[in-house]
């Protein structure tokens, strides 16, 4: 048994990180239906745009970069709520928080899985939406790259909001309220990258900033999320 005089216990943090990663991937796989929901939402909203605005391809092409990005943002927002909800209900969150492992690292594992099962599929599906909304040819590459970087940043930022609202009944709407302002820079540079490419200007600057935003959110989010989760467990 451990005693305070003994050397600090071997934490095997990497093992714990992998265990949480494997667990969440398994859970996501077992709930495949839930995984598809944001994607279906993504495609359905894309169908609403021509119905609500115009089916005329010239006008759709003007709207496409921003529209696809806004829809991806909303789909990512919808899925953010589920990040910690089940864990909070069944007590796993408390077990994660009470383990001697650094909580931010375990949280990071959860966020990575969340991106793998929401952000990545959204990104892979986005060219289909590009076709549906008559996105000009030049926009497709930057659309995929910007969503690849951007949805990861959105997952990071969304995790903070999800952690802050997990203990609140019906916190989903509140989550959108507190997270959306923080999403705005990502939206601006993501949509602009596609728009620039469509206009024949190199999008590399906007994409670089998007990468910087991702790096920044990776730096802040795990710690803020871990702190927020501890607050939520108090509540």
């Amino acid at each position: 048994m451990a005693s305070p005089d003994a050397a600090p216990p071997e934490l095997a943090t990497a093992t714990a990180f992998r265990a949480v990663l494997t667990r969440d991937l398994t859970l996501a796989f077992r709930h495949r239906g839930d995984m598809a929901n944001p994607l279906i939402f993504f495609v359905m909203v894309a169908t609403l745009v021509p119905l609500g605005v115009t089916p005329e391809s010239g006008q759709l092409a003007l709207l496409a970069p921003g529209m696809i990005w806004v829809m991806a943002l909303l789909a990512s927002l919808l899925s953010a709520e589920t990040l910690f909800l089940a864990d909070h209900r069944d007590g796993s969150l408390e077990q994660l928080a009470l383990s001697p492992q650094p909580l931010w690292l375990l949280v990071l594992a959860k966020i990575i899985v969340h991106w793998l099962v929401t952000g990545l599929p959204l990104t892979l599906l986005s060219p289909l939406l590009g076709v549906m909304l008559s996105l000009p040819q030049a926009g497709f590459g930057p659309l995929v790259v910007s969503l690849l970087l951007g949805t990861a940043a959105l997952s990071m930022i969304g995790a903070i909001g999800a952690a802050l609202t997990v203990a609140i009944p019906r916190g989903g709407l509140l989550l959108s309220l507190i997270v959306m302002p923080l999403y705005m820079p990502v939206l601006i540079f993501g949509a602009s990258a596609v728009q620039l490419a469509v206009d024949g200007i190199s999008p590399s600057g906007a994409l670089a900033i998007l990468g910087a935003l991702l790096a920044f959110s990776c730096l802040i989010s795990p710690f803020a999320t871990a702190g927020a989760l501890r607050v939520s467990l108090h509540g």
Binding site: P4, A19, V20, L27, D87, Q95, L98, P100, Q101
Partner: protein, 210 residues
């Protein structure tokens, strides 16, 4: 001079939302002791256990682990402590084996066999069945299997006997007793009357705030 107690609480008070729940709570837990926290519903039993588990922070007072202030030794303490709450963190979509596979690395260095642990709690043959097909008592047993896998010297168990049948209760009593005899310590809440030697009691009524 003997070794310091595993856990010592001095003058713990807790208030929720600026309303005092209890105050002036002090106790000492030595190796080999099993402490039963008693009290009516709402007297703060679960709250106290969550404070002991470092899930909540006391509004006042201090806690000492092996004579060290917990404030500076939280991580080592968490390493040496296992807490099972009302909701013990068993995932319904995973099998008992998968559940233990992610719960175990949270408290590393536990070198026991998952199959043996599951057999010990009477879940042999159900290792790979999804947990949502199990009964409430069997789910509780999945969580209790962690006790067989744990090296922690302090166990904090909130209502561990809930939903467990008489046979299971007997086994759990033996397990707690063995743990205490090996030099560990246990804090439990229960509305039952466990048959345990070395059982001391802490009645929340004495610390309640009217």
């Amino acid at each position: 001079m003997s070794a310091p107690p595993i856990l010592e609480c001095r003058d713990i008070a807790f208030e929720r939302d600026y309303t005092p729940i209890f105050s002036g709570l002090s106790f000492t837990l030595w190796r080999g002791q099993i402490l039963q926290v008693k009290g009516a519903n709402g007297s703060g039993k679960t709250t106290l256990l969550r404070i002991l588990a470092t899930s909540l922070t006391a509004s006042q007072g201090s806690m000492f682990w092996h004579g060290n202030d917990l404030e500076g030794h939280r991580q080592e303490y968490r390493f040496d402590m296992l807490y099972l709450g009302h909701q013990p963190g068993v995932k319904a979509a995973l099998t008992p084996r998968e559940n233990l596979a992610w719960l175990r690395p949270l408290h590393p260095k536990a070198g026991h066999d998952t199959n043996q642990a599951l057999a010990a709690v009477g879940l042999a043959g159900m290792e790979d069945v999804p947990c949502h097909t199990l009964s409430a008592g069997q789910l509780r047993r999945v969580a209790l299997a962690r006790l067989y896998l744990s090296d922690a010297s302090l166990w904090i168990l909130d209502e561990p006997f809930t939903a467990i049948d008489r046979d299971g209760v007997g086994k759990l009593e033996i397990l707690l007793q063995d743990h205490a005899q090996r030099g560990g310590a246990v804090v439990i809440t229960t509305h039952q009357h466990p048959q345990l030697d070395n059982l001391c009691e802490l009645d929340m009524v004495r610390y309640g705030v009217s």
